[in-house]
């Protein structure tokens, strides 16, 4: 297997405050990798640095052979990295269709964009029912589906998901994770940031545990789920 994404010695700072220190990550093609950790450990920061939304202080981010360090967020998106941000960030005042169309912004051909929107709607039939509805009127789960659907329009090779289960009812979370499994089965590599560590480890192949901006542990998902320290810290003592 070859590394699709490789992060080496990544340092990110907010002003003087160190957010990430010497992060090393590797994501192989076809994997699902979970990033776990407490609030403020640096999970979201890691994703944002990969997407080019935060300046990298030192270190390298290499995606499919290209160094992302000096690239703009839109260029990185065009290279094939999709990012479903924390809190979904859908365009609430636009319709579902307009949201999906914006996901295909970089696609020149109208027909191609329409096909891809159709594909996304096949994954999320609920969105098809609400296609002309304003996105802000959707339920939380539907909004999350729209956020994922919007990212899929660009057909990313790597999908970064930031807390897709946040604020959703358990049943809806289950649906979302089933969809992620489905998306992965269609050939998309996934990096998943989750508070819901149990669900994330059940889905993922491997996981990294972040603590205070550093990688505290990395292992297979199964091993992490068995580890007493991880269980105590993130899965609620059992």
């Amino acid at each position: 297997m070859s590394a699709l994404l490789e992060v080496r010695a990544l340092d990110v700072r907010y002003g003087g405050i160190v957010a990430l220190r010497g992060i090393d990550l590797r994501v192989d093609e076809g994997e699902i990798v979970a990033l776990l950790g407490a609030n403020g450990a640096g999970k979201t920061t890691t994703l944002r640095a990969i997407s080019g939304l935060l300046p990298i202080r030192s270190g390298e981010v290499v995606f499919d052979g290209s160094n992302l360090r000096k690239r703009s967020p839109d260029a990185i998106a065009r290279l094939g990295i999709g990012h479903v941000p924390e809190g979904r960030r859908i365009f609430t005042r636009m319709t579902v269709r307009e949201n999906l169309e914006l996901g295909g912004f970089a696609i020149a051909s109208q027909r191609e964009a329409a096909t891809r929107i159709d594909d996304a709607l096949a994954i999320f039939p609920r969105l098809r029912e609400r296609i002309e509805q304003r996105a802000g009127t959707l339920s939380g789960g539907e909004q999350q589906m729209l956020a994922i659907g919007r990212a899929l329009i660009a057909r990313p090779r790597l999908l970064l998901l930031d807390e897709p289960s946040l604020g959703l009812a358990p049943l809806v979370v289950k649906q979302i994770f089933e969809v992620l499994r489905d998306i992965h089965a269609r050939g998309t590599t996934i990096v998943l940031v989750e508070q819901n560590a149990r669900a994330a480890l059940a889905l993922a192949d491997r996981g990294y545990v972040l603590r205070n901006g550093e990688i505290a542990r990395d292992d297979t998902a199964a091993a992490l789920a068995e580890d007493p320290a991880v269980v105590a810290a993130y899965l609620g003592g059992e």
Binding site: S51, L53, S72, P73, D74, A77, R78, G82, H83, V84, P85, R89, I90, F91, T92, R93, M94, E98, E101, L102, G103, F105, A106, R130, E132, Q133, R134, G136, T137, R150, A151, A154
Partner: protein, 358 residues
């Protein structure tokens, strides 16, 4: 008389907003265009058409600013600077100032290009700023540009400005003292500005602007080049006011720094707020209403008051008070403007219509 024209235009705009049938809309637009083109032959006088020509220039300015503020969501409080750049382009290149007498028609386009260039120059370093910070920087730019024109006395005539600008000609026929040519050129200008605005709104760039206005971060995630889209908004918006500036300067045959101060920027922002930011038709209505208030209603009330009470009050000093009152009133009673665009209406009244026009 002036009110007849303004009311016809505003009524037509409201009708266009109300009708949803494409053909009906087109018919109204054509009827209005025919009326505005033909009626002056039968009805009105120079004073009326002078005000209408000014109104038309302001409509163009408002449409330009609407691209920046209404479409892309970038609050620009120094828009008058680009108006000044357009006007001074004509002032310096078609007057005895340097003995240059470039043709009016060439300068129309040159001024648009120059204004766009300065729009991009101002935009490049500042568009990383957001919201209030961008507003403050543009406010500063709006103050600096007239100051520069005022202090470069050698080139711009300083505080006195440049007078005796060339009277434009059309295939050898001088415009003379008539205001009609300016009225008609401005009408064509508005038609072009409307057409460009509409097409831009529906274009890829327009969708990028809409996304940036809604959520810049999400727009980035969607692969939109935010900085370049913003720059385009600044440059295109500025180019409209460049053309407006040439028309304004040629009609007045004069440019001076005090014509392009902060009050002009505020006036145009007020037009947008009054009419409904982002909605092209709303912006036209807003700018017509405010120009009529400024150029017709206020002077008339002024002379009425003076005649009745034998006073010599100058109501034109009260412009800011009036804009202020209008802005406060709009914010209280109809924050989305008179004819809002649908996103803004949705934002400000989302509770009620939730799944409304699905």
């Amino acid at each position: 008389m002036i009110y007849t024209y303004a009311l016809v235009a505003i009524a037509a705009c409201v009708a266009i907003e109300r009708f949803h049938n494409r053909r009906a809309k087109t018919a109204i637009v054509l009827l209005l265009a025919a009326f505005l083109a033909i009626a002056p032959r039968f009805y009105g006088n120079d004073a009326v058409f002078s005000v209408l020509a000014d109104a038309a220039v302001y409509v163009m300015l408002a449409l330009g600013l609407n691209i920046v503020v209404g479409f892309a969501g970038l609050l620009d409080l120094g828009y008058a600077a680009f108006f000044a750049i357009g006007a001074y382009t004509y002032g310096m290149l078609a007057s005895p100032q340097f003995g240059l007498h470039l043709p009016f028609w060439v300068l129309l386009f040159l001024a648009a290009a120059l204004a766009a260039l300065f729009g991009a120059l101002l935009g490049a370093p500042t568009l990383r700023l957001h919201g209030d910070y961008l507003a403050i920087v543009t406010l500063g730019f709006g103050e600096i540009v007239p100051q520069i024109f005022q202090n470069l006395t050698k080139y711009t005539g300083g505080p006195n400005g440049i007078a005796a600008l060339d009277v434009p000609t059309f295939f050898g026929h001088s415009f003379g003292a008539s205001v009609m040519p300016y009225y008609y050129i401005a009408l064509v200008g508005i038609a072009a500005a409307l057409w460009i605005s509409r097409n831009l709104r529906e274009s890829r760039l327009g969708r990028a602007w809409m996304a940036i206005r809604e959520d810049e971060l999400a727009a980035r995630h969607a692969g939109i080049d935010v900085l370049r889209s913003k720059l385009a908004a600044f440059a295109i918006g500025a180019s409209f006011s460049g053309i407006g500036g040439v028309l304004f300067a040629a009609k007045l045959a004069l440019v001076s720094p005090d014509l392009f101060g902060f009050q002009v920027s505020v006036l145009i922002v007020s037009m947008l707020v009054l009419g409904g930011m982002g909605n092209i038709v709303g912006v036209v209505v807003g700018s017509l209403l405010l120009t009529i208030v400024n150029s017709a209603l206020l002077p008339q009330i002024n002379s009425l008051v003076d005649a009745t009470f034998h006073t010599t009050i100058d109501l034109s000093n009260l412009h800011f008070l009036i804009y202020g009152a209008i802005l406060v009133g709009i914010m209280l009673f109809r924050p989305e403007g008179l004819l809002p665009n649908r996103e803004r209406r949705a934002e400000l009244h989302h509770a009620g219509e939730a799944a409304g026009d699905a």
